[in-house]
Symmetry: C2
Subunit: 411 residues, 2 copies
């Protein structure tokens, strides 16, 4: 089993840090007015833009000078490997450049984290089987829970790139057209059933202009983030037939501030589950392409401590991001650097592993209780929702940072 | 009634030209290796990048030097007005700068037209009532033709910006998962029911970060294009439940090469139709925001002349682009410069005014006959489809150029 790599940054050598030398996730940070690319290591962020300026990182061309990781993605996977190798060398115990590197470290507690990349287009999937069964059972009954296509294709819909924000961004409760079962006409009002969806996001780092295989798709993925697909269930219920979710998903989509690269997650690959039907050749599993990543959600009402309300794992998914991406290109759809694919809500088989309030409260009919004694069916104003995830190694873990946001009242 | 403005470019003074001085549509052209912004006038394209370099067009900052109209949009509506006034002055009969302007004219027949702008995100609507009734009747019967929400909100779904191509681009027949009514399992095969959708596209020229009114939305629109939302009906039938169209619409979306500005279309504004239900305040009509634009589709099988198969008008729509855009922002969705909104298929009440083959052949059950004697249910390989549109003034017309594409066999 992969062991922890040790760094001269001692906080990176703790069993508990999210950011050991094995991780090296990519973000964008600011301190004062200066915004630049950074890499998390222990309790610090490394100013890699400065190191590139000093010549300590040389990728053949300046790639770290814009406040986004898209230029690195665009440079291709040889550069991805080169940069990771360089960073490991620079930050390792016994690094020849320890002094210069230390001068480029900033305490994480003192910086602001911004969007790590520019989202080109955003696609959201519906590829968790427990989630699809739960939602389907609520809406159509247990007999018809899974739509007929569900076991053959990773169902997805195009989302809205302009909705994607970084962790920490406040979210305003949206308004929209709502029509209750007893209303004769719809009204325009604030959503009463505002929800989270616990997801992982895969970032497309290489473009394609035509259909790609599952293996090619896996190679195109640069890294992963934790993703909260905020969802207005009552807006969705009224709008989604026949063409799918639209404004119900357009308010905001929060991502974690750190892109964990595919390279860092390599030791945690795992198989997709057993198939109910053999997948068609263009989607067939060709190797382990899910990841063993523990995920959790906490909710903190205003002025209260956080209660954990969800605990699940990314390996619960039925389709990998590579399969989703292969399907995405199947009709010739061009993919571009910076495209973001949401996994779909990640729910386990047990009640406490359900990745949305819709499932946790069974459509609002079974409110659940927080540690504070309060109950919730959906999110209330001033609740702070925090999604987290990490892959657990033998003596280290790989984290993504918090994916958090507070819900403010409707404007 | 608005009269034709006369230009020293005599071909612009014909009753039949699409590009009189009243129009001045914006495109991007290349001749040799040089790609730049151009404006159509009669049989010519005016190299406005060159005129800006020479100082004959001065907008306070260089806005015409990139091969896209996004910088002009981004500069705001005062600049839009300023540029139009400058162009009218430069190209009018008696222009003081006739010599310099003539030196920047290239025959349209000798240039290649490229994408006129960079598409930020693409949204497609379903806002034509006849189309929705036709499709709904085919799929759900006449009693349930319109979904319950249809008369209250302009139903839309997020499309794929990477699918948008300029007129003249060859389209490859897509493959995808298909499952016929008698198949027990889906197969992956070329689409057999590949179709057009005759639409107008509205281009968002001003950004918004929050909900906008219908009036504000109308002000945000920069101009319009003709749009063909190529659609694989058999892929759509299998994939679209429950989250809407995805790969069925991802192969390509063709737009006309010329953006006709809102200013040029001003004389042709007309009202939306009578409402079945009063719209909620945030969507209510506040003035004439549709346009009287005649639209047609021709099909030319390989080696044959084109047959006109559709003739309709943009004023058939139930919702204006401004209403669609207002709805698009209703849950707080940010809009950006370069966002493209497809109107939805534009069908009239008569058979020959149906804007898709799905409707013309009534789901493939009633093949229609071309002038050549051939019949069609859906598009066949090597068919060339051409969409056109123009607004008819007293002694001039405002055109968009052809929105055309040939279907090539599946790869």
């Amino acid at each position: 089993m992969t062991k922890r790599l040790n760094s001269f940054v001692t906080s990176a050598n703790s069993r508990d840090t999210e950011f050991p030398l094995n991780n090296l996730p990519y973000g964008v940070f600011s301190q004062g007015d200066h915004t630049r690319c950074g890499v998390a290591i222990g309790d610090f962020v490394l100013d890699v833009a400065a190191l590139e300026n000093q010549g300590l990182i040389d990728l053949g061309q300046p790639l770290l000078q814009s406040a986004a990781w898209n230029p690195v993605m665009d440079a291709g996977s040889d550069i991805w490997d080169q940069l990771r190798a360089l960073l490991i060398a620079l930050l390792s115990e016994g690094s020849a450049d320890q002094g210069a590197v230390e001068a480029a470290l900033y305490p994480l507690a003192e910086v602001q984290l911004l969007m790590p990349f520019t989202v080109t287009e955003f696609t959201d999937f519906y590829a968790g089987k427990n989630h699809a069964i739960n939602v389907g059972t609520m809406f159509r009954g247990a007999e018809n829970a899974l739509p007929p296509n569900w076991l053959h294709i990773p169902i997805g819909y195009n989302g809205r790139a302009s909705s994607v924000v970084v962790s920490g961004t406040d979210i305003y409760r949206p308004s929209g057209q709502l029509k209750g079962p007893d209303d004769t006409l719809p009204k325009f009002a604030p959503s009463k059933r505002f929800d989270i969806e616990l997801e992982m996001g895969a970032i497309v780092g290489r473009p394609s202009s035509d259909r790609v295989s599952v293996d090619q798709a896996d190679e195109m993925i640069f890294g992963y983030v934790i993703l909260n697909d905020w969802s207005a269930r009552d807006i969705q219920a009224w709008e989604y037939q026949p063409l799918g979710p639209f404004q119900s998903k357009a308010t905001a989509t929060t991502i974690s501030p750190w892109i964990v690269t595919k390279a860092a997650l390599e030791p945690f690959r795992c198989e997709t589950p057993e198939r109910d039907f053999e997948l068609l050749p263009h989607l067939k599993d060709t190797g382990p392409m899910l990841y063993d990543i523990d995920l959790s959600v906490t909710i903190a009402p205003k002025g209260s401590d956080a209660s954990e309300v969800v605990r699940t794992n990314y390996k619960e998914m039925y389709y990998s991001a590579a399969q989703q991406l292969a399907h995405h290109t199947s009709a010739g759809c061009a993919m571009r650097v910076g495209d973001l694919l949401g996994s779909g809500t990640i729910s386990g088989a047990t009640k406490e592993s359900r990745g949305s309030f819709l499932e946790l409260s069974w459509g609002g009919n079974e409110p659940f209780t927080l540690d504070t004694g309060e109950t919730r069916s959906f999110i209330e104003d001033f609740d702070t929702l925090t999604l987290q995830g990490f892959a657990q190694g033998s003596d280290f873990k790989i984290g993504f940072g918090e994916c958090t946001g507070m819900l403010l009242p409707a404007k």
